[in-house]
């Protein structure tokens, strides 16, 4: 029987006493060998404490399963927001030094984890990856099985290099037609979540395909897989193609393998979208599924715009935003915060002159950090404030006060909204 790409990767990584297994079925429980694991300054401290507890119990030091397959990225409350966050980051730093973990990323080298690891060639096609962060599903864009777990899973994986999984059913999402101007990966995924709901893919794999996906840049694909979790998905995945191979070829730190779904693979559902009907989208508070076209927003005044995050903080995102902001001033009542997602993106954006455009428009540029995305620092909202953000979550209180509001959108919609001071379709802005 045919298998999906997700089933094939999991079968290839399944640990069975009788050797590798050739077939897995949805619902089956397996243990799988992991190619790469990660944690951040929120989730890793708990995992490290659990790791140490086992060391104490056993009365001996333990090594991590593979020093080159663990990444610890302090990105949520860094540069250290306060004493408590400093302590958490210090735990990561000390542990990494003690265990000789190769991929610990200090500020100056770091970035938001899900933008950083693909860029560093650490997550690759065919990999089986877990991360103690829900948006670990991002790496599916490169044709890997990658899913978010909790700290205890990370602790166990640091020791054993394995994790348990239930083989998920897959839903196939096929995108056809011609993309409208300004419509990008963010709009496609917001539209899709709006269609199926925040639990529309619960426990399932979301496989994105069709001509439109083949035409998308890796950056857009990463954005789409990043938000699979917002529909409850276990993972998002896109079959590797020439673009994928070009992307990883010069940066890959390890070997990788290409898997593709069989033509007769089984799907729980197949959904087709004619993208020519999709306009730039906005997810209204307080769920990512609460979407409508930006053009239909009824004069919604905003206080802040955030452009960045693991969803849309890559160079391409910043270029799109700069293209709209160029020669314009942002609305006097709006604060515009730009967060290049990694140090490398930061440097590239600066070299390309994007910073000049952002600064002249009235925006500010932050060092890479998750910061405002989770209401941490660098742009927390007050009561009643509204923010258009290129991030991935708009739950109650996500960016600050419980009575603040987050509207999720693409970099183009965010930039256009910053200029007008209200939610705006980019079509309204004159490109200079």
């Amino acid at each position: 029987m045919g298998m999906t790409i997700t089933e094939k990767i999991l079968a290839a990584h399944a640990v069975k006493k009788q050797g590798a297994i050739s077939q897995v079925l949805p619902g089956e429980l397996i243990e799988a060998d992991l190619d790469f694991i990660l944690g951040n300054d929120i989730t890793a401290p708990i995992a490290i404490s659990e790791f140490k507890a086992i060391e104490k119990e056993k009365g001996r030091e333990l090594e991590v399963f593979d020093k080159e397959r663990v990444a610890l990225v302090p990105d949520h409350f860094t540069p250290n927001k306060d004493v408590k966050s400093a302590e958490q980051c210090k735990m990561l730093r000390d542990f990494s030094r003690k265990k000789n973990i190769k991929y610990y990323f200090e500020i100056g080298k770091m970035g938001v984890e899900h933008a950083l690891l693909p860029e560093q060639g650490l997550v690759l096609p065919g990999d089986c990856i877990i991360g103690a962060d829900s948006h670990t599903c991002t790496y599916g864009a490169l044709g890997a099985f990658s899913t978010g777990v909790g700290s205890t899973d990370l602790a166990a994986a640091m020791i054993r290099g394995k994790a348990w999984f239930k083989i998920p059913e897959s839903i196939k999402f096929v995108y056809k037609g011609k993309l409208n101007k300004w419509v990008c990966g963010k709009d496609l995924i917001l539209y899709t979540i709006g269609d199926i709901g925040v639990d529309g893919a619960l426990y399932k794999s979301m496989e994105f395909c069709g001509d439109v996906i083949s035409g998308l840049a890796i950056s857009d694909r990463l954005t789409m897989c990043n938000m699979a979790i917002e529909a409850g998905g276990k993972n998002g995945i896109i079959e590797p193609d020439e673009k994928t191979l070009n992307y990883v070829k010069n940066i890959a730190k390890r070997d990788y393998k290409i898997y593709k779904s069989d033509p007769d693979a089984q799907y729980a559902d197949i959904r087709e979208y004619d993208v020519s009907k999709i306009k730039p989208q906005v997810a209204f508070p307080h769920l990512p599924s609460n979407t409508k076209p930006a053009a239909d927003a009824d004069n919604i005044q905003i206080d802040q715009v955030v452009i960045g995050s693991c969803t849309n903080g890559r160079l391409q995102d910043l270029e799109i935003a700069a293209g709209i902001l160029k020669g314009h001033k942002i609305h006097p009542y709006v604060r515009l915060i730009i967060l290049p997602a990694t140090q490398k993106i930061y440097a590239a954006a600066m070299k390309k002159g994007l910073f000049d455009i952002f600064l002249e428009s009235g925006g500010i540029i932050s060092t890479p950090t998750c910061g405002p995305c989770l209401g941490g620092h660098m742009g927390v909202l007050a009561e009643g404030e509204r923010c258009v953000s290129t991030t991935n979550r708009n739950f109650v209180g996500r960016m600050g006060h419980v009575k603040s509001e987050v509207y999720l959108a693409s970099p183009a919609v965010a930039a256009a909204s910053a200029i007008k001071g209200r939610i705006t379709d980019p079509e309204e802005i004159k490109i200079k």
């Binding site: 429980l29 929120i42 989730t43 401290p45 708990i46 404490s49 659990e50 507890a53 086992i54 119990e57 056993k58 009365g59 001996r60 333990l62 949520h76 409350f77 927001k81 306060d82 408590k84 966050s85 958490q88 991360g131 103690a132 962060d133 829900s134 670990t136 978010g148 777990v149 909790g150 700290s151 205890t152 899973d153 602790a155 166990a156 020791i159 054993r160 348990w164 239930k166 925040v198 639990d199 619960l202 426990y203 979790i229 409850g232 276990k234 769920l287 989770l374 209401g375 941490g376 927390v380 979550r393 739950f395 109650v396 209180g397 996500r398 600050g400 419980v402």
Partner: protein, 168 residues
């Protein structure tokens, strides 16, 4: 494993930002986290919770981030068990991994009102609503999961499976 307690009832899509807001994530101290448990959805929860109380919710409980702080804060607050129509998958994993009992049982959820007293038998997968005098049965966990729970969570299980020190 049996639990008896009074219920707190919530709706669909209770998310991790509501269970434990990110502004408190600069610590992983269970006690501190428990003080803010459910704060953004029900400010009365952390003050009113009594030991062995049971949370009952509808679809997709625990959606959002992977923060284990969410089930940790619930467990530390004294909750004995969560019953929901469905759980978000990372929350589901995390609860099992830290040994916080959870159960999917639509019928029981439908009839529960806030304050009802429930008796839950996890190994049998049954729920008895003592207030309404009704009995419900849901499907038990897969074998491997039961193994993890009976070991006391994932780390206890890992510890058991670790090879002994040489010469031990």
């Amino acid at each position: 494993m049996k639990f008896k307690g009074k219920t707190w009832k919530y709706g669909d899509n209770v998310n991790t930002d509501e269970i434990i807001p990110a502004r408190y994530l600069n610590t992983s101290d269970p006690k501190e986290l428990a003080e803010h448990c459910m704060e953004d959805i029900d400010a009365s929860f952390a003050k009113g919770i009594e030991k062995d109380d049971i949370i009952v919710a509808q679809e997709n409980f625990g959606c959002g981030s992977s923060r284990e702080h969410a089930p940790i804060s619930i467990k530390e607050a004294g909750v004995s068990c969560i019953i929901a129509n469905s759980f978000a998958r990372i929350f589901y994993r995390n609860s099992i991994n830290i040994g916080l009992p959870i159960l999917e049982c639509k019928e029981a959820v439908k009839d529960v009102d806030k304050g009802d007293i429930l008796e839950v038998d996890l190994s049998a997968g049954t729920v008895l609503n003592l207030t309404k005098n009704k009995f419900y049965k849901s499907s038990p966990f897969p074998e491997f999961i039961q193994e993890l729970i009976s070991a006391g969570g994932l780390m206890k299980w890992v510890s058991k499976t670790l090879p002994p020190v040489k010469g031990e």
